[in-house]
């Protein structure tokens, strides 16, 4: 909450992504660059990830961010979060 945009790391976002995927196996093998769709994320669990990220960082994804590409990896999501928080403060 009230996250500092500079402090948000890809690894931190990966942790939130994994918390949004409680039924997933082998999450310890995921890295920030892992393809989440290839790892088994579907449209349902994608929304769980979105909800977890929005809750953790107290943000709302604008519609233009709701694309499969943004949610391809934790690193991409982290970039989006930083952009949203940067836009809010800047």
């Amino acid at each position: 909450m009230g996250s500092d945009v500079r402090a948000i790391t890809d690894e931190e976002v990966l942790g939130v992504v994994i918390s949004g995927l409680p039924g997933f196996r082998n999450t310890e093998q995921l890295t920030p660059q892992s393809d989440l769709w290839a790892a088994g994320m579907d449209s349902l669990s994608n929304i769980s990830v979105m909800v977890a990220i929005e809750g953790e960082f107290d943000i709302e994804f604008p519609d233009e961010f709701l694309t499969p590409e943004v949610f391809t990896s934790a690193a991409n999501i982290a970039e989006a979060v930083r952009a949203i928080l940067g836009g809010r403060t800047g």
Partner: protein
């Protein structure tokens, strides 16, 4: 069915000694309002679960399983009343007894269990006076054969039902409750506390904002007045196409198009309404599971609600419409909780008032998202479609909606207002949705 005897099992709540009170959660209030609207004829909303008891299991193990479920899941020991202001409230009891009917039979235990379930589910729940779940055990020569649960819809949506099936099955196998049941399950009053927290309130406000924008744009009922015909004496009919083909084809197409199976099903349902019934714009409510918050995924409770969607220009191709459904659904499902009385107010304030006359309910295969969809051979799809069997389930004189389409892994069902979809057209509608899905899947995925 008369029970031979009744076992009263004492329970003591997991993690708390005092009863807990609160207003209803958004999901509970949603189903409470539906039950209240239908009362006193709401018993068809009750759910039945029949679980085979493994051979050699003692009755004591079955009763211990029942007790463990009730102690761990607060929704199974919650009563509902109305306060002085007419608002429904819940009270999760910490102690009490669970009445379990024990029926010993020399006849076929499965059949007796089915009759027991049907008789029990045929009686409406007094939600202010009895536990919202009824247990019966069918035994033969004292050995338990089938455990029957009948649940009020306020206790479970389809997600909660699946959790109960899985957990009860493992308990009946003799597994220890601590190995089966979540140590700290998310309870209805946890959900209420979240909804009343600053973060939860922000989400609610966002959902209501979304509803105000969406409901300003919802067309009146799905059917044009020109389609009106003389209705049947019992105006509302529910029919079911028993077939796995629609769900399998939707999942295959979903993977091919990169969208969800529900988006495919909704798109084909809308296109078929356009082609068969002259519907030009389709406004409907999409029933959503609301289990996107990971904490809620261990919860036995009712979280499901409905969100509005409108599809226009139904003469477009499937990928175009399914993609639109997918984008709209992803956008709205981020804030799916809303307070039903507020939703009603927003509906009434819309110009013209936004009536909800159509609903789609997609219940997919557990764990069956596009990423997990197995390859389904063309021959299997064709065989499933060829074996499809249609039947009418019931007729009602009163309903709140004109059209309800439900998709399950093994069936596609439809509640219709026969003033707009006469019975023969309703059957043709379900068969056309199935055949369209299969044709599209064979063409897109199998190159036929």
């Amino acid at each position: 069915m008369v029970a031979d005897r009744r076992a009263d099992i004492p329970f003591e709540a997991w993690g708390g000694a005092d009863p807990q009170y609160g207003r209803l959660t958004c999901g509970q209030r949603f189903i409470w309002d539906i039950i209240a609207d239908l009362a006193p004829n709401d018993e068809h909303l009750n759910s039945e679960l029949l679980l085979d008891v493994p051979g050699g299991t003692e009755l004591e193990v079955v009763l211990r399983s029942v007790r463990a479920l009730v102690e761990r899941h607060a929704s199974l020991r919650t009563l509902y009343t109305v306060d002085e202001e007419g608002e429904p409230v819940q009270q999760a009891h910490a102690r009490g007894t669970i009445p379990v009917a024990v029926i010993d039979t020399e006849e076929d235990a499965e059949r007796v269990a089915e009759e027991t379930a049907r008789a029990s589910a045929g009686e409406r729940f007094c939600l202010d006076a009895e536990l919202p779940v009824r247990f019966s055990v069918v035994t033969q020569e004292g050995a338990p054969r089938v455990l029957v649960l009948v649940l009020s819809h306020i206790v479970v949506d389809i997600w909660g039902l699946r959790l109960l099936v899985e957990q009860t099955g493992r308990l009946l196998e003799g597994q220890h409750p601590d190995d089966v049941l979540p140590a700290d399950p998310w309870q209805p009053l946890d959900q209420l506390a979240y909804e009343e927290s600053p973060a939860g309130r922000r989400k609610l406000e966002r959902a209501h904002r979304f509803l105000r924008e969406s409901l300003a744009d919802v067309p009146a009922g799905p059917f044009p007045d020109s389609a009106r015909v003389r209705p049947q004496p019992n105006r509302y009919w529910m029919g079911e196409l028993l077939s796995q083909a629609p769900d399998k084809a939707a999942r295959l197409l979903a993977r091919h198009l990169g969208v969800s199976a529900s988006s495919v099903l909704i798109a084909v349902a809308a296109i078929t309404l356009h082609r068969l019934c002259g519907v030009t714009e389709f406004g409907f409510s999409l029933r959503t599971l609301n289990r996107y918050d990971a904490r809620t995924q261990t919860a036995v409770g009712h979280y499901s609600q409905e969100l509005p969607l409108v599809l226009r220009r139904l003469d477009r191709e499937l990928p175009d419409i399914a993609g639109e459904v997918q984008r709209s659904a992803v956008s709205m499902l981020r804030c799916p909780y809303y307070w039903p009385p507020e939703m009603r107010r927003i509906r009434e304030e819309a110009v013209p008032p936004a009536r909800s006359n159509a609903t789609i309910n997609y219940i997919g295969k557990p764990g069956g998202g596009p990423a997990e969809a197995e390859d389904i051979p063309a021959a299997e799809l064709l065989a499933d479609a060829g074996n499809a069997r249609f039947r009418w389930l019931f007729e009602h004189s009163e309903e709140k909606i004109q059209f309800l389409l439900s998709s399950h892994p093994r069936s596609l069902s439809c509640l219709v207002d026969t003033a707009f979809l006469p019975p023969e057209l309703a059957e043709r509608y379900l068969r056309t949705v199935q055949d369209s899905l299969v044709d599209l899947a064979l063409s897109a995925v199998h190159g036929h």
